[in-house]
Symmetry: C2
Subunit: 238 residues, 2 copies
C-alpha cells in the first residue's frame, strides 16, 4: 500500500518526495528487521536451552530476510519501471493509431470531473495538439501512473536490506552476551520494544497520523508477534 | 511500491481492481511465506543436528511473520484511510475558507496539463460550482489520493496473514517427516523452488511483465536468500 507522505505545496515537492522515499525505505526495513527476528528469538527462547542456537537462527533469519526484502524491493522497482515503459509505449501507439478512441477517453475524463459538454470538447482539442503532452496526461490522470525514478530500484534495495540488518541485530545482540535464553529475552524485549516505539513514532510522523498513537501501535505489533511466537514454540517444543 | 495491475477499459474496472487486490495480497503473503521460512530452515539445516529445532524455529517464524505482516497490512490500510479522511476534511475546509487559493490551484492543474488561459478559467469555473465535485477532483488529481475501501484493511490483514502461513508450511513440511536436516533441506528446496516459480509466474502475469522471466526471478530470490542463510549459519554455527 503506497501512502502519499507529503501534502506539500512548495515547488521543491519532488525533492522532498525523493528524500522521504529513502527515509521510508529505511524505516520499513528497520521496523521489519526489528519485529521478525525479535519474534523469532522470543519464540526460540521459550523452546530451546542455549542462546547459541538463537544467535544462529537469528542471524540466518536476518541474512535471509534482508536479501529477500532487498531483492524484493529491487524487483518491485524494476517491475514498476517496466510497467510504466510498456504502458507509455502503448499510449503512444494508441494516440497515433486509435486517435478517435483516445479522443473519446480524454473527453470522458473531463466529463467525469464535471465539465460541460462544450468544455470537454475544447479541452480535449487543446490537449491533443501536442502528442507528448497528451500521452503524459493520459499516463498520469487516466492510468494514474507516475514516472518512476530509474535509480529507485537499486537505492531501495540497499536501503531496505541494510536497514533490515541493522534492525535485526538489535533484538539478537543480548543473546550474544548471556547464555540463558530467557535472560536474553528479557533484555531483548526491553531494548527492542523501545526501538519499535521510536521507529513507530517517526513512521507515523511521516504519514501524518498521531505519532504517539502510531508509536504504540508499532510497538504492540512487535509485542503481539513475539508473544505469539513464544506461545506457539513453547506449545510444540517446550 | 504500489503497482497498478490492470489497464482495463471496461466499466467493471473497479470490481476487477478489488478482486485483484485480494489476489495480490495472497500472492504477496504466500511468496514471502515461502521465501523467509525456507531460507531460515535452509540456514539452520547447515548448523544444527536435529530437524525438530528447525520445525520449532520455522513455526515460530511463521507465527511471528504472519502476525507482523498481517497486522502491518492492517495498519497500513487504516493509516491510508485516516490520511484520506484528514486530507478530505482539510480540502473541504480550504474550499470553504481559502476559496481564492483553491481556485488558483485548480487553474494551475489545468495549466499544467496544457490548456489555454481561457479554458483554465472556464473549466475552473464549472468545476468549482459543486463543492463535493470540486473536493473529489482535488483529492484525486491534485493530491493523487484514491478513496480507500473501508473494509480493505481487515481483508488485507487476513489475506496476507493466512497466505503467509500456508506459504510457510510448504518449506517446513519436509522437516516433519525426516530426522536429518540436510535430507529435509533437499526435499524442502525442490518443493519450495517449484512453488516459488509457480507464484512468480502468477505474480508477473498480474503486473503485466513476462511471466516466465518473472517466475525465474522470484525463484532466484528464494534460492539466493536460502543459500546466503545457509552460508552464514554454517560460518558461525557449523
Amino acid at each position: 500500500m503506497d501512502i502519499h507522505l507529503h501534502h506539500d505545496r512548495n515547488p521543491h515537492m519532488e525533492e522532498h518526495m525523493k528524500s522521504s522515499d529513502a527515509l521510508r525505505d529505511i524505516v520499513i526495513g528497520m521496523s521489519d528487521g526489528l519485529t521478525v527476528p525479535f519474534a523469532l528469538a522470543a519464540g526460540l527462547s521459550g523452546a530451546v536451552d542455549s542462546s547459541s542456537i538463537i544467535v544462529i537462527a537469528g542471524i540466518a533469519e536476518v541474512a535471509a530476510g534482508s536479501i529477500a526484502m532487498g531483492l524484493g524491493g529491487y524487483l518491485a522497482g524494476k517491475t514498476e519501471q517496466d510497467h510504466y515503459n510498456s504502458e507509455e509505449k502503448r499510449e503512444y501507439h494508441e494516440v497515433e493509431n486509435l486517435r478517435e478512441r483516445e479522443i473519446e477517453e480524454t473527453k470522458e475524463f473531463f466529463a467525469k470531473i464535471g465539465l460541460s459538454k462544450e468544455l470537454q470538447d475544447n479541452a480535449t482539442d487543446e490537449i491533443s495538439r501536442d502528442k507528448k503532452q497528451w500521452v503524459d496526461f493520459m499516463m498520469k490522470y487516466e492510468l494514474g501512473l507516475e514516472k518512476p525514478d530509474p535509480k529507485r530500484a537499486t537505492k531501495s534495495a540497499l536501503n531496505i536490506g541494510l536497514s533490515y540488518i541493522v534492525g535485526g541485530l538489535v533484538p539478537l545482540s543480548p543473546y550474544f552476551f548471556v547464555t540463558s535464553p530467557l535472560e536474553g529475552l528479557k533484555i531483548s524485549a526491553i531494548v527492542t520494544l523501545i526501538c519499535l516505539f521510536v521507529f513507530g513514532y517517526f513512521k507515523s510522523k511521516m504519514t501524518g497520523i498521531n505519532p504517539w498513537w502510531g508509536a504504540l501501535r508499532v510497538m504492540l505489533i512487535g509485542a503481539v508477534a513475539a508473544s505469539a511466537a513464544f506461545g506457539v514454540a513453547k506449545l510444540i517444543g517446550g
